[in-house]
Amino acid sequence: MVLNRGNSGAVLLAVTWVLLILTGILITLGYQVQLESLLYSRYKRELETKEAARNLLQLVIHRLQHDDSDYDAPGTIDFPYALAAELGYTYAAEVELWDEGSRFNLNNTPAYMWRSFFEDAPGYYTFVHQWFFSGDVSAYSTPAVVRQNYLFTVEELYRLPGAEAIATYENMLRPELTVFNPALFYLLDGETFLALLKQTGENYSASTEMAMIDAFNRNRWNAMYQASLFELVGRLGLPVFPDIAKLEPLVTTEGFLNPNFISPRHLNAVIGAPPANSVRLYELKTIQEATPFTRWEYFDAYLKEVYGENYPAYVRLYFTFKTRIWGVRVRIMGESGTSFCLTAVLERSKEKALTSWAIKILSLREEWVVTGEGGTGLGE
């Protein structure tokens, strides 16, 4: 006897259909759940990565606070990975430190130094001068006596109208520029000094401005020695005595350029004379890395080699062997070719009464970058 010969597969067929439909529903719902879970886990990973980078920055701060070495140089400021590992930070990370303060600041250096700094990039000099002194980059505007502009960030320079003129120099010059250092009193001229005063909110008549510039330039050589800003400004015989308390955050009389980090181009600009031995000048980077200057005598001997015996004695006032403004970059390698990059600028200072250094975070930038391309911001 044949049972249900005609419809014996109907139940199985129905079950198969039901299973198929259910599978479809499961896959659909599963996809949504998976998406939600993916978003959440990615967000969690982002937070963890950011936290790791910030933790490493804290370690760097700790390291800089308790630094008791006599000098800073590229070889002496390696990040203590052993310490990080000991504390349980096992991320694939790179920590890079550099002397941000020894870079060149267009905001508070005189235009005559720019000419020397941009000696091999005259187009750059013209562009920068035009923008700072005229407020725009058109070739026909008349430059003012005192600079009219200043940069908030170095990157801003490359986003100004007409910046295509300097784009070719970006890779070469960008790493040598900064906005994060104070003006060094001994390198100022009358125009730069007046521009700084105006930044503090001072306002003078045109004739007073000219008198201030003239008095500064005439008497500046009376003030080329180590002293407080109040005393040195007093030696300038200015027609109006400025508010020193307002000026002090912007101008320092303590040298902050580190011979072990300064670039040949910047050194040339601060010395203000062409090198007698250019070859030796461009060996500076190698010297800084291989045999850093540990005392003034060694750097003095190097300067004499490069610039001859007659470079001015007050050059000593520009330099220090302990870095004041640090740049820090923490890079945490991520998945799929991206990495998290934290870049910070730290100001380090030491009061005589304190045993450790004080640190202040001046700038912080966090971004996801494509590994190997560096600087391509990836948002979320």
Binding site: V15, L26, L29, G30, N107, V179, L354, S356, L362, E366
Partner: protein, 203 residues
């Protein structure tokens, strides 16, 4: 017509034959197994669906709100700009309970960015310092009764207004989330550090 048995030893009961037709034990077992699978699948699907919809319409919504707010606020507060060497031109964070603005530098562009609350909406506002370009964007709606406050690192107090010449240590957003039904319930406070301007070892 010979009887076809599923396997040797299998016997059909007479009652089975008397009633005309029925199922073999094998068919019953297969049916039970399949039904079990189906039931298991259905229960799982129902469970997942219930979980998912619960997450979607209750906790998931709030989580997404918190995630969005955290991302957007951190992005701005983490880009706070401070350069002590360019004078008093830029006012630092300026805020009250209804919002704040601060100078930020992002991808080389400096501007004043901030968030403010307007009729239960959180609005992001950008104003370029060089070009004066202004942009506004509603980040999220349905935040009734939200309020910002600021932790003064010097006094250790949370204060509702900020106009100092230094950055607050923390910015807090206290908020409620309004459901589609109109009911609102408090969310955990969101607290963001401003690392820029933080001092270590300065007494």
């Amino acid at each position: 017509m010979s009887e076809r048995l599923p396997f040797p030893g299998w016997k059909r009961s007479k009652a089975f034959f008397r009633t005309g037709r029925g199922f073999t034990l094998f068919e019953v077992l297969v049916t039970i197994t399949l039904t079990g699978f189906i039931m298991l699948g259905i229960i799982t699907v129902l469970q997942n669906t219930a979980d998912f919809s619960w997450r979607s319409y209750t906790r998931g919504d709030k989580e997404r709100v918190l995630r969005l707010l955290t991302r957007r606020l951190e992005e701005i507060l983490g880009s706070a700009y401070l350069c002590p060497y360019i004078g008093e031109k830029l006012q630092l964070l300026n805020g009250n309970t209804q919002g704040f603005s601060l100078p930020v530098s992002r991808e080389g562009v400096t501007g004043r960015a901030g968030f403010f609350l307007h009729d239960g909406d959180l609005v992001y506002r950008w104003e370029g310092i060089r070009d004066g370009e202004v942009a506004e964007e509603t980040v999220i709606t349905r935040l009734p009764g939200a309020a910002f406050s600021y932790l003064d690192g010097k006094s250790g107090l949370w204060i509702p207004y900020w106009q100092e010449d230094y950055y607050p240590r923390l910015v807090r957003l206290r908020l409620h989330w309004q459901e589609e039904t109109g009911e609102s319930e408090p969310l955990p406070d969101l607290i963001f550090p401003i690392l820029v301007g933080t001092e270590y070892g300065i007494e």
